[in-house]
């Protein structure tokens, strides 16, 4: 846990803020610690998804030392949105560049040339990432039933 800096006195009660964060729908529990940049640093305790709803367990020291970049959303949600954003960029790019895209036929080389065009490649990368994020979410929600105790 970070040590309190000189701005600690200006910050709201960390416990109260932490309780507020606990009730957030993201399923993450934070310790809010005053940071040197004045906006507070959220330290994630842990989050575990479950089919019956999110529940929380305390993370070990090595994990709590890591902080997510976008702590408001759960990590898998961030991955999902990142994949969907890249997919959207690819689709918009495909539509915008439609006149310059070419179709080379159904032969193996033709398919390779057809798919090897930047907008289509970006859309495929985004699709793969979004699908993988959904798979990871499904695994996380079904793999740790014993953690609920």
């Amino acid at each position: 846990m970070r040590s309190r800096g000189p701005r600690a006195g200006r910050t709201d009660d960390p416990e109260a803020v932490s309780r507020q964060q606990n009730s957030s729908a993201s399923g993450m529990v934070y310790k809010v610690v005053p940071g040197r940049h004045g906006i507070g640093v959220r330290e994630v305790m842990a989050t575990v998804a479950h089919p019956h709803g999110p529940f929380v367990r305390r993370a070990d020291a090595s994990r709590s030392a890591q902080r997510p970049i976008l702590p408001v959303l759960s990590a898998l949600t961030v991955r999902n949105w990142l994949g969907l954003a890249v997919l959207a960029v690819g689709l918009v790019w495909t539509v915008a560049w439609n006149p310059t895209l070419s179709w080379y036929g159904f032969t193996p080389v033709g398919l390779y040339h057809s798919f090897d065009q930047p907008p289509i490649l970006v859309a495929l990368v985004g699709l793969r990432f979004a699908v993988r994020a959904r798979g990871a979410r499904a695994r996380a929600s079904g793999s740790e039933p014993g953690e609920r105790d």
Binding site: V44, M45, A46, T47, V48, A49, R57, A59, R63, Q66, R67, P68, I69, L70, A75, L76, V78, R79, L82, G83, V86, H113, D116, Q117, P118, L121, V122, L124, V125, R128, F129, A133, A136, A140, S143, E144
Partner: protein, 173 residues
């Protein structure tokens, strides 16, 4: 035998897509906190694949500088991919292990800059200069991230690597 400009551009686009997938995987797995996961092997596999591709490019290079730079590139990528793979499998625990990839990224950036021998009015040469500087800065940010463990450096590292992949994807024909 030489390859056409369109084939060169296609190779850059394909590698850009692989690189973008790898950057997303890396950033995504860094975001995962508190969930059990196995280490991702996508980064070392992309590095090894790129190393093989670079050796292929050195065989079909149109000039001596292209052949030399691409072969050096292939060596750096294969070495970095092998070391990173062993590190992720838990077999390399040296203190310098996490520094291998950022340093390899910076070296590859330097090779990009050495590789752009044409005038900057040439779009391909301009793209190589931009990609080279993106990789050099990404390598520096990666070293800072490994040494300092600040999220800001990680953001800079990921953003510069993503910028590099988009430069690859927009490589001119």
């Amino acid at each position: 035998m030489s390859i056409s400009g369109l084939e060169v551009a296609r190779a850059h686009w394909l590698f850009g897509a692989l690189f973008l997938a790898m950057v997303l995987d890396e950033v995504g797995s860094t975001l995962e906190v508190g969930t059990s996961r196995r280490p991702s092997y996508s980064l070392p596999l992309v590095l090894l694949l790129a190393g093989v591709g670079m050796w292929g490019a050195s065989v079909f290079a149109n000039s001596v500088i292209d052949a030399v730079v691409h072969s050096l590139w292939g060596d750096v990528l294969l070495a970095a991919g092998s070391l990173e793979l062993q590190r992720r499998r838990g077999r390399l625990r040296a203190w310098w292990g996490p520094l291998v990839v950022p340093i390899a990224v910076a070296v590859c950036g330097g090779l990009f800059l050495a590789h752009s021998d044409g005038p900057l009015s040439d779009p391909a040469a301009r793209w190589h200069v931009l990609m080279g500087w993106a990789l050099v800065m990404a390598g520096a940010a990666g070293v800072a991230w490994v040494r300092r463990q600040r999220q800001g450096w990680l953001m800079a590292y990921g953003t510069l690597l993503a910028a590099f992949s988009f430069l690859l994807l927009t490589f001119p024909r």
